[in-house]
């Protein structure tokens, strides 16, 4: 690589605006200085983490309280409430603590594939085998 080429890359060649946003050179040219590769925004500050943890603790408390209402409210409602709270907790940890909110979308897509594929696949397995095993 010639000195001129190195200089152009380091200082900006002036043609970055012509590159598509998905282009590697474009992304590296526009990376924020204090971020690691893969991050598009800075991580939350510690107080935001504490707030998220408090919310998680409260939801866990409500979950346990709801589980003790068996017999007082319909089981179907308990199932819906518990699963909804489970999903909220899952999303809070994944998006805030695992930084899916602030990292490049490719990580989110990868994780969503696994997190959605697993329940879908095993729901089909359960629906199929439950009947087979019962008979």
């Amino acid at each position: 690589m010639s000195d001129t080429e190195t200089q152009e890359i380091e200082q900006g060649s002036g043609h970055e605006a012509d590159l598509p946003q998905g282009d590697l050179a474009y992304r590296m040219a526009h990376a924020a200085p204090n971020l690691l590769p893969g991050e598009v925004k800075a991580h939350p500050d510690p107080w935001q983490y504490v707030v998220v943890a408090v919310v998680l603790a409260v939801i866990t408390g409500v979950e346990i309280a709801v589980s003790y209402m068996e017999g007082d409210i319909p089981d179907g409602l308990i199932v819906v409430l518990l699963l909804a709270m489970m999903v909220v907790k899952f999303i809070l940890v994944a998006s805030w603590f695992m930084h899916l909110r602030t990292d490049q979308p490719v990580f989110k897509r990868l994780f969503i594939v696994g997190a959605i594929a697993a329940p879908l696949l095993y729901l089909v397995v359960l629906a199929t085998l439950h009947g087979v095993l019962a008979s």
């Binding site: 690589m1 080429e5 190195t6 890359i9 380091e10 900006g12 590697l24 050179a25 590296m28 040219a29 990376a31 200085p33 204090n34 690691l36 590769p37 893969g38 991580h43 500050d45 510690p46 983490y49 504490v50 998220v52 943890a53 998680l56 603790a57 866990t60 979950e63 346990i64 589980s67 068996e70 089981d75 308990i78 199932v79 518990l82 699963l83 489970m86 907790k89 899952f90 940890v93 994944a94 603590f97 695992m98 990292d103 490049q104 490719v106 990580f107 990868l110 994780f111 594939v113 696994g114 997190a115 594929a117 697993a118 329940p119 095993y122 397995v125 359960l126 085998l129 439950h130 095993l133």
Partner: protein, 217 residues
């Protein structure tokens, strides 16, 4: 402005390889795609681990109430208040983990060591609780070979416990490296990758706790 290096010779010569913004050349932060290789690999692993745990959760749901089983049932052995406390401890370990990451990212190594050690201790407390729970179940007559419920329960929670144990070893190793001043601000991505694993163990327990322990039988 980020620099971009060009590989001089050999395979891939002339290919643009972005350098890390503050410490070029560290393995954890190298990239050929614009995202850190190690982080990408960890997310791929976590995505596949979702399917791994999903298989054991589905097996448990399928087998826990098979008719004709002898021995204790879930209602006979579960101690919800006790498991709630250990679940809460594991949940809070995720907070200490992100606080450890935030500390190392701003170069506060003393707080990093405190938070990373707290995370490992919370994890160890969770494992202690799980060992106690297993001992209690065995005392009540439920072993891994007692019935299908016992087999699927012990295997699912045992595999999760093994994940936690691996996480604890990882965290203690990071703490040890930091004690030897071998973890610096520029290594924060190594801590972040360990954190991703730890939080994943936590989200899996969020699902296990609700589906296995709390849902009406």
């Amino acid at each position: 402005m980020a620099t971009v290096e060009q590989t001089p010779t050999g395979p891939g010569a002339g290919e643009l390889v972005p350098a890390r913004h503050d410490d070029p050349g560290t393995a954890a932060n190298s990239t050929h795609t614009g995202v850190a290789n190690a982080k990408l690999a960890m997310w791929l692993f976590l995505s596949s681990d979702c399917l791994f745990f999903g298989a054991f959760i589905a097996t448990y749901l399928l087998y826990r109430d098979r008719p004709g089983q002898t021995g204790p049932t879930p209602q006979d052995v579960y101690n919800i208040p006790f498991t709630s406390v250990t679940s809460f401890i594991l949940l809070m370990s995720s907070l200490t983990m992100v606080l450890a990451l935030a500390a190392v990212q701003r170069g506060d190594y003393r707080r990093f060591r405190i938070w990373i050690l707290a995370t490992a201790l919370f994890g160890a407390t969770f494992i202690g609780g799980q060992i106690f729970e297993f001992t209690e179940f065995t005392r009540k007559g439920l072993n891994v070979d007692t019935n299908l419920f016992g087999s699927s329960f012990f295997i699912l929670t045992g595999i999760h416990g093994t994940h936690v144990l691996i996480g604890i070893v990882w965290l203690v190793a990071l703490w040890g490296l930091s004690m030897q001043s071998r973890i610096s601000q520029s290594d924060s991505e190594r801590v972040e990758i360990a954190g991703l694993y730890w939080h994943f163990v936590d989200v899996v327990w969020i699902v296990i706790f609700t589906v296995i322990y709390l849902l009406p039988k």
